[in-house]
Symmetry: C2
Subunit: 474 residues, 2 copies
């Protein structure tokens, strides 16, 4: 390699030490037909950047287990944490072309729009969160490409590897389809590998430019912490009532509903439909008890409850949706979230953990996030359990009295209670902005625990029956 490139390389490596220290996550994508030079370029970066924070992610055609998860699942799971660098050898673009070319999950993805939108929103979401996304598209003359292929073929130990990917997406189709992205989106840096040194130089120059921009941006101010609350906020949104279920009625109703829930679980499993249940609500509204009634008769091998506490340091070092994305259920499984990604617009807004820009754009991010799973047939239901302020006080006091419940009540609960109005407004806005057709909210009055449990179970069963067997409300 010539001296100029050596200098660029040192410069780039030095900049990645800065992005690492500043906590900027960097994602570098390489796309291009097989034998175009992607391996050489991506490997060059892998060897240049510090192995402690650089990861190489390659995209292969999905196997049976991969297909049980959402289209972008792998990229969610491997998202770089703050300060780390991911190098993608093929990316969600190749993955998309593979889906398209080979009719993968075509029941769900009949037209391209859904997946193209998922990619768009995934990238936007990351870029808004200061992820530096650098996309290279590698071109090469056919003569040079054949030369690369011949080099591999000549080696008896490696010949079997030649062109393995071309069988999955034929070269002409790859070129035609990728052009739609690279020509409509200025974010792509197109590199011609026909002259190797020119290609290396161009790659490094672009990376240096982008990392310098990212460092500059990161040193700018971080936005204000304003929760933008209304003085004397009030709302009628939670003034919902239900006919109270008597103790006797409850006893008659609950077990058949739980048994039906178990049948639903098995039907979802057979039909490979994932079910995502999300619970939010005031403290002591009975989320835990409600979840317990749902799961009581379920087969424990097919569901999980995800109780959300304060994030660990590893979670804090990632995009806020990461820790939820990686817990999303595979096909036919049920995932229950006891609190969820809505923390972004609830506690994080109230406590100022997220700044105004962050929580304000979170509504749309969350809508797109949820749609990624419902696009693939997941049933996603969201419950908001609401409580009268007086009833909460009563429950807090009951908990303090009962030796078996004392652990449930902490100082934090009392502190949150002082911020009742703020949480009320945050909850109101959340439901207004994220009550979508694909992932609707159900507001459940929870002043009467048993009534709330019956209501939630009935609702889940009915929504699943609609999807499973086209059962209608007449």
């Amino acid at each position: 390699m010539n001296k100029k490139i050596e200098q660029l390389k040192l410069k780039a490596a030095s900049l990645t030490r800065q992005t690492h220290d500043l906590g900027i996550p960097v994602m570098i994508v390489f796309e291009g037909v097989p034998a175009s030079g992607k391996t050489r370029l991506s490997n060059e970066l892998l060897l240049t950047f510090d192995a402690k924070y650089t990861q190489f992610i390659s995209t292969k055609t999905p196997d049976a287990e991969d297909l049980r998860y959402q289209f972008l699942q792998k990229y969610w799971n491997t998202l770089p944490q703050k300060g780390n660098i991911n190098i993608y050898f093929r990316s969600w673009y190749s993955h998309f072309l593979d889906y398209k070319q080979n009719n993968i999950k075509q029941d769900y993805y009949k037209n391209d729009d859904k997946l193209v939108n998922q990619i768009k929103h995934f990238e936007e979401m990351l870029q808004n969160d200061s992820y530096e996304l650098i996309k290279f598209y590698i071109e090469v003359s056919e003569e040079k490409r054949q030369e690369h292929i011949q080099q591999t073929k000549d080696n008896p130990l490696m010949s079997w590897k030649v062109q393995e990917y071309e069988q999955i997406i034929p070269k002409d189709i790859y070129l035609k389809e990728m052009r739609k992205f690279t020509h409509s989106d200025k974010q792509w840096e197109v590199i011609d590998y026909t002259q190797r040194e020119v290609a290396f130089e161009k790659m490094y120059k672009h990376i240096i430019e982008r990392l310098e921009q990212a460092i500059q941006k990161s040193n700018q101010s971080k936005g204000n912490k304003d929760g933008a609350f209304t003085k004397d906020f009030s709302t009628t949104k939670f003034d919902v009532t239900l006919d109270e279920v008597s103790k006797k009625e409850y006893k008659e109703l609950i077990e058949p509903l739980q048994k039906r829930m178990r049948e639903i679980q098995f039907a979802l499993y057979e039909r490979k439909i994932p079910l995502i249940l999300t619970f939010e609500g005031m403290d002591a509204a009975g989320k835990g008890g409600n979840i317990k009634r749902i799961r009581e008769k379920l087969d424990p091998t097919g569901y999980e409850v995800n109780g959300i506490s304060a994030p660990t340091d590893v979670e804090l070092a990632h995009h806020y949706l990461w820790r939820f994305a990686k817990e999303m259920p595979k096909s036919g499984h049920i995932e229950i979230f006891d609190r969820s990604w809505y923390g972004r617009v609830l506690v994080e807004r109230v406590e100022g953990f997220a700044n105004k820009d962050e929580w304000e754009r979170a509504y749309e991010e969350i809508n797109h996030f949820e749609k990624m799973w419902t696009d693939e047939g997941a049933i996603l239901l969201k419950f908001f359990l609401c409580l009268d302020k007086e009833e909460q006080l009563k429950r807090f006091k009951d908990r303090e009295q009962d030796i078996n419940k004392q652990w449930k009540i902490t100082d934090e609960d009392w502190r949150n209670r002082e911020k009742w109005d703020l949480y009320l407004e945050a909850s109101h806005d959340m439901i207004e902005k994220t009550d979508t057709i694909h992932a609707p909210w159900l507001i459940v009055p929870a002043d009467h625990k048993k009534t709330a449990r019956i209501e939630v179970l009935k609702y889940i069963i009915r929504q699943c029956e609609k999807v499973l067997w086209g059962v209608k409300d007449y």
Copy 2:
């Protein structure tokens, strides 16, 4: 459920809140033939303990992807962190019987001993690290069992699930083989499920007893931090020399070796053999540069470098081997560790992060740990790069001078240098106690960087050639 059981249940739940707060990890295993009552008992616990720290792990027959990993990989990956509870619905015992009955990986596991030993050492290791391991073996009368089966069969939505596991391990074989474990190991608590309430009571009583013991033990003193170093320690262990490779020789040798290394990578991939390379050594001995020469021409989709820094809080909350176990390569892949699990007997011994009991038993733990992978055909090579104390000083100073290397030298390096003799003794003892036939150490004199690189590459290639093609040293 009767009142007595309700009381036991509250007691058990309350104890798990204590084990949670004390950071005691709990593992509860359920074994027993299908339809014996395992589901009911394990589900009872799952519903009783707090979902925030309780996880349900079920064992299924391995799919193609699972088989690319070590026998215990799944249990390593899902090991509970401090304060958490895992409930195992079938465990490594069923997994073992599945391997045995269905001749899985029989090239490696011709007789049972290896797997039985793996299980033994896995459990011992966890128990020594204050994991509370509770093992239930569920028995039931055949009449009662048929009743359970009939209940499931009668339901049209669930009938397909009946006895799915019995096809994998026939009931009679399961019973016969499990008896060998349950009858030789007093740690098993055998429960007869024929009378349901008796079974529940017995389960809770045993759990309460065990958790109380664990809590008591946890409140005892934690052992001393003694590194047990010798005054004026000296050793000739590292007085190894090599014929120095000239600049010219290096230039001629390095590229063919790297190309051969790439061929080896492809051959390992085809033969599904994992390769694990572990680097330890004095600071500035050139581990990074050495690793770089190994990987320089490798296909980046088939290897990973794991640079070990201080553990995250999540890693600290797990068994010390956990963060390495989950990075072990799948079949045909290469994993390179830049520092490793040997930190336990090096930095942790020197700095007192591990107490005397912990680092002293670590040698044997590590030997068993490594054997789990070599048992399945992994090639595991360990390199200790040693440096003269004067040469280290020179390199430290060079790094401080060179603007592109300054980031490599930190205050910590200088502090470690002050403890040269302690690290020397710790390194000496480590090699003495962990130089095994299945995972040997190579001591590499690294005063001359280029010579060390050639030596390491040659050694890796030769060891792999031996395994791959029976190449011998004549």
